[in-house]
Assembly symmetry: C2
Homo-oligomer: 379 residues x 2
């Protein structure tokens, strides 16, 4: 077999990507302070200075999740790795699982639970609606489940699932509740302990002003009991929470080499959550979303989700009749360096997805986006 | 349940870690060009500019692995995620697996294969030795295996496993060969196609001058056939290579949000591999290792591994009688900002582990390390 030739470097030039305005479903724009923190020199994964950063990160993450859960940490990966960590650890082969799916990510939870051997039933709903507590209860009365999954902020539809009462219903029949908070954590009111959520996961790249690269997860004592009572090892070694906790906790047993730049950036991002205050942050996301919604209505555009369950961090806008949705997105990018998202799954070709998350959620961004849309749609 | 109080920011100060000299088992030091590349603005995961970077990365990674394998990509995670991707995809429940383990990471491969339902037998060897081809053949003659695992550069022992003939032996009895190249790729001669390796994985943070954050993997057409013939879905959704290839390949189907800063940095790191040339890079790692070894001998220190199978990227040094090994490591860090590694597993307390990888492998680093060791050991 012949040797592989050396590539010609002229075909692989230095990076030169422009500063896009990211108003899609994520990643959102990275705060400059986070980018700067990522350039802090890399140290070893057992360096006391780095271990101290991990401990502080867990503290600040507990505040952000509004939880006292001991088992609160990050996984090396992205929000999807957080989802996988939740399922891989909580679902044992044969466990009955009820997946409430009202969009793409709800279905993905069901798919993952099946892969880990769960006995999964999926309850679906039209993309753009939310589940009512009595629907959750009726489904569980009919078919009890050890694990129930639901998405708080469904990135594919722009729906914010109300979470009141759900954990109580799930607990009353002996199950555990897993909640996907990828597109809500830090942008939408979410209090893990008050809501009684057992496992909640998220990512860094949506409402926290950081780049993608870490999954975030918190696990209640009740869910920890299930982990401790597992009959089989977690098939997924890389995301085995018991092994990860031995590194994050006082034992400091090596598991894998953490990504220092990602941790540096995320720590800075969490510091900024504390500086702003969670309530203020939630209010900022709502205020900018309301400005966007009013502006879109003024452009005669129709929002896909009713106001009471509409997600402030991601808005789905119906494509007007006669408009080439892909062309508008292309022109936004070419003419103004603006990214918005296409529809996904059932809503493909039917909506645009506009995200205002983290550092992207600023009034000047809303004004620019509305002005650009007006030019392209009403020229 | 009461609300979680806002942390006091004074307990969570801005990052202030010093620029350590990283001569441990990894991470190694990050090249400044890589750090700078990581600050390039984040764009969307479907942005044509980003997809182009992925395509170019796969090209440069093929050169680095010395392979023409179509299925060559990165996973979001670290080297351990690369290991997990190899096992999760290649080992189906009931598959017979032979794991040749001469150190910590060889044992970890066996552990992962068991978790994915493999029928695993582990052939062990004293930590500090390598397997001979006739030993591999004898084990396979006794117990054929669909999957054989072996570590090229065993980070726990400092042994470089010769790989000639092994793939042929494995193929002759119908199996596939998985090789761990975490501590060798880019630092030690390794030609995946010429050696006939079926699955090879590595990480960014050892010999490639990048921070941790991506796992690297390449899969031969022969191994792809096994993937395509799987009877069950890969349990691990996040690391399912078929789904990842649909994003990396021409279909561009969303799987998860890639970490742009990690990809930016890695692309720059790979460009530097091409600039230097693989052969020159291998020669640099050897030259600096030989300088280190001579200097350590001059300090009356004994190396744990014989010269013919000694790894140039990671050297294990026996702790001299009467020396407090932890105290020396602490003083190196406190007095000179130098990190070296402790022994792991069977070699805990018996050796130091000195890494000279990627950007850490420079002559000035060797001189400084030797001078510091001389001061501490022969004061």
């Amino acid at each position: 077999m012949s040797a592989i030739p050396t590539p010609n470097l002229s075909a692989y030039p230095e990076l030169d990507t422009p500063a896009r305005l990211l108003f899609g479903p994520g990643p959102s724009m990275v705060h400059p302070r986070v980018t700067r923190a990522m350039t802090v020199p890399v140290v070893g994964y057992m360096d006391p200075l780095f271990l101290d950063i991990l401990t502080k990160t867990a503290d600040l993450l507990r505040y952000t999740f509004q939880t006292e859960n001991r088992l609160t940490l990050t996984v090396s990966g992205t929000g999807t790795a957080g989802m996988e960590a939740a399922i891989a650890n909580l679902v044992e082969p044969g466990d009955s699982v009820l997946a409430f799916a009202k969009g793409y990510f709800g279905l993905r939870l069901a798919e993952m639970a099946r892969r880990y051997g769960g006995n999964v039933e999926t309850i679906t709903k039209t993309w753009g609606e939310a589940f009512a507590p009595h629907e959750i209860k009726a489904a569980l009365d009919r078919r009890p489940a050890k694990v129930v999954t639901i998405v708080h902020a469904e990135t594919s539809t722009g729906v914010c699932q109300p979470l009141d009462e759900i954990a109580r219903i799930v607990h009353d029949q002996g199950g555990l509740l897993i909640v996907d908070a990828v597109t809500s954590l830090g942008g939408v009111p979410l209090k893990v302990d008050e809501l009684g959520i057992d496992v909640c996961y998220s990512g860094t790249q949506k409402c926290l002003g950081c780049p993608p690269g870490l999954g975030l997860i918190t696990v209640s004592p009740r869910a920890e009991e299930k982990l401790n009572a597992r009959k089989s090892a977690v098939p997924n070694f890389f995301l085995d929470l018991a092994l990860l906790q031995k590194y994050w906790g006082s034992e400091r047993v090596y598991h894998h080499t953490a990504s220092m730049p990602m941790h540096y950036g995320f720590y800075e991002g969490l510091r900024m959550v504390v500086e702003e205050g969670l309530e203020n942050r939630w209010a900022r996301h709502r205020k900018n979303a309301e400005t966007l919604w009013k502006g879109l209505a003024d452009l005669d555009l129709t929002l896909h989700v009713p106001h009471d369950i509409r997600l402030v961090t991601l808005t789905t806008v119906r494509i007007p009749d006669g408009v080439d949705e892909a062309q508008i997105r292309q022109r936004l990018m070419q003419d103004y360096n603006i990214e918005i998202g296409a529809g996904l799954g059932d809503l493909k070709g039917k909506v645009w997805r506009i995200g205002l998350m983290g550092y992207s959620s600023r009034e000047e961004n809303v004004l620019l986006l509305l002005a650009a849309l007006e030019k392209l749609l009403h020229k």
